[in-house]
């Protein structure tokens, strides 16, 4: 069983930024991602109480390092200043590398 090294990008942000993130992914030709609602705490305060609009969402994208770095750059530029958001990368191994380009 051969495994391939790729990267996993995790974006945790306020739910109202979800659309912006998905648009950026779309622009970069990414069609695979996983997302789910989470609560959280950070520099923009506790999130996840009260209205649905005040929840966070976590979006995970597996792809190549190069592609993900482009995406991280665009997210940084367009969303970091106005939204509650963090992003991080980590290493994962997958079976079908062609699925995650």
């Amino acid at each position: 069983m051969k495994l391939f090294d790729v990267k996993l990008l995790t974006v945790t942000c306020e739910i109202l930024a979800q659309k912006n993130i998905l648009e950026i992914l779309n622009k970069h030709g990414i069609t695979g991602y996983t997302l789910y609602e989470v609560d959280g705490n950070g520099s923009k305060g506790v999130r996840g109480q009260g209205f649905k609009n005040e929840k966070n969402v976590k979006i995970e994208i597996i792809s190549t390092e190069a592609r993900l770095k482009d995406i991280v750059e665009e997210i940084t530029r367009s969303l970091f200043s106005n939204f509650a958001i963090i992003v991080y990368l980590s290493d994962v191994q997958v079976l079908r590398s062609e699925k995650f380009i």
């Binding site: 306020e14 109202l16 930024a17 109480q49 009260g50 209205f51 649905k52 609009n53 530029r77």
Partner: protein
């Protein structure tokens, strides 16, 4: 009944008491809260019920007399939004983004406030014009669209003037992108506002109510009419909890905004009652019209503004709209407007007076 007596009686209704219970629960840091699914479902339910009710009424009364009040409501809403902006920007010294965001939050309408208004009137045994639900739907996006348009204009102008003071061709990509983005923003926001769930369910409800009529409504009236007040009570428990959690933030919004959050709704609301009475709306209709003018948006506002004016701080507009204006409106301003409307309608309607005499003479 005098205003104070009416306020007191209003406080002692289940809807207001559940709201207060929610605030208390939040203040003593209780873990009481509604499951998310319930707090998401209830506004949909309330809007459907408001819409159905409005549609039924409009089927009975026609909607020919709706046009003038609606146009005037739109006009007032736009004028108020501009007025808010001037006050916030000049007197309050807020930046452009916060000023426009707040201006439109208060220019917009609050569907929950509207529900509470309906249950208040029900309690007073007074009816209101069915087409007000349609005005609620139409007013939803109007104020946001104006604010977003003006924000985009302002940003473009800033960039333009910066560009002119520089040698040609140095407008960097970043700025081009901002201009570009603002344009797409406006069209996106327009689409999102009009297809937003609140408007869709409200207009849908109105259409369904209009089409089915009282007979068709019979089979669902227990769900969409009889459960209405109880559902509002449950929803206001949750609203109280959320408002209570935000009370600490009131210190952060500052004295100016707190004052604004009470005075402006009062001003807008009373103007609304006067105008509506002049337009010939009923006692209850004038109160609801005033409430439309007085209410601020706190569910729809963040969804629209985070995309359209992301630079504005949501803590400002949510806290003032939900933490200050909403409780003030439903507890104090509603009885005030009701009293004013009652006075106006007694003055203006000699027939009432006539009835009164007649009854006393017999």
């Amino acid at each position: 009944m005098d205003i104070l007596g009416l306020i007191q009686a209003n406080i002692l209704t289940p809807v207001i008491l559940f709201f207060i219970l929610g605030i208390v629960a939040a203040r003593i840091k209780s873990d009481l809260k509604m499951p998310d699914a319930i707090s998401e479902f209830l506004p949909i339910y309330l809007l459907a019920a408001i819409g159905l009710h409005g549609g039924l009424e409009m089927r009975n009364t026609g909607f020919s007399d709706m046009l003038i009040p609606m146009l005037i409501a739109i006009g007032l809403s736009l004028v108020f939004t501009l007025n808010h902006y001037q006050i916030l920007r000049r007197l309050g010294k807020f930046n452009i983004f916060d000023s426009y965001a707040l201006a439109s939050t208060y220019g917009a309408v609050g569907a929950v406030t509207f529900s509470v208004g309906l249950s208040f009137l029900k309690n007073q045994g007074v009816e209101s014009e069915g087409y007000l639900a349609a005005i609620l739907a139409v007013l939803e996006p109007v104020s946001f669209i104006l604010a977003i348009f003006l924000t985009n204009m302002a940003v473009s102008k800033q960039i333009q003037s910066k560009k002119q003071s520089l040698p040609e061709g140095t407008l960097d990509n970043n700025e081009k992108e901002i201009v570009e983005q603002n344009k797409t923003n406006l069209s996106k926001v327009l689409h999102e506002s009009i297809t937003g769930k609140a408007i869709v369910i409200l207009l849908g409800g109105i259409a369904i109510g209009y089409l089915i009529g009282d007979k068709g409504f019979d089979s669902i009236s227990i769900v969409f009419d009889e459960l209405f007040t109880g559902a509002i009570a449950i929803f206001l428990l949750e609203m109280g909890i959320i408002a209570g959690q935000r009370l600490d933030d009131i210190k952060k919004v500052g004295v100016f905004l707190v004052t604004f959050s009470i005075l402006l709704p009062t001003f807008n609301g009373i103007i609304g009652v006067l105008v509506a009475t002049a337009l010939g709306l009923s006692l209850g209709g004038a109160v609801m019209f005033g409430l439309l003018m007085a209410s601020a948006s706190f569910i729809a506002a963040p969804a629209v503004l985070r995309h359209a004016i992301p630079q504005a701080k949501p803590s400002l507009y949510i806290t003032s709209a939900l933490g200050i204006t909403f409780p003030y409106n439903i507890i104090i301003l509603l009885p005030i407007m009701f009293t004013i409307s009652s006075m106006l309608h007694n003055l203006e309607t000699p027939i009432n007076l006539f009835n009164y005499l007649e009854i006393n003479l017999l």
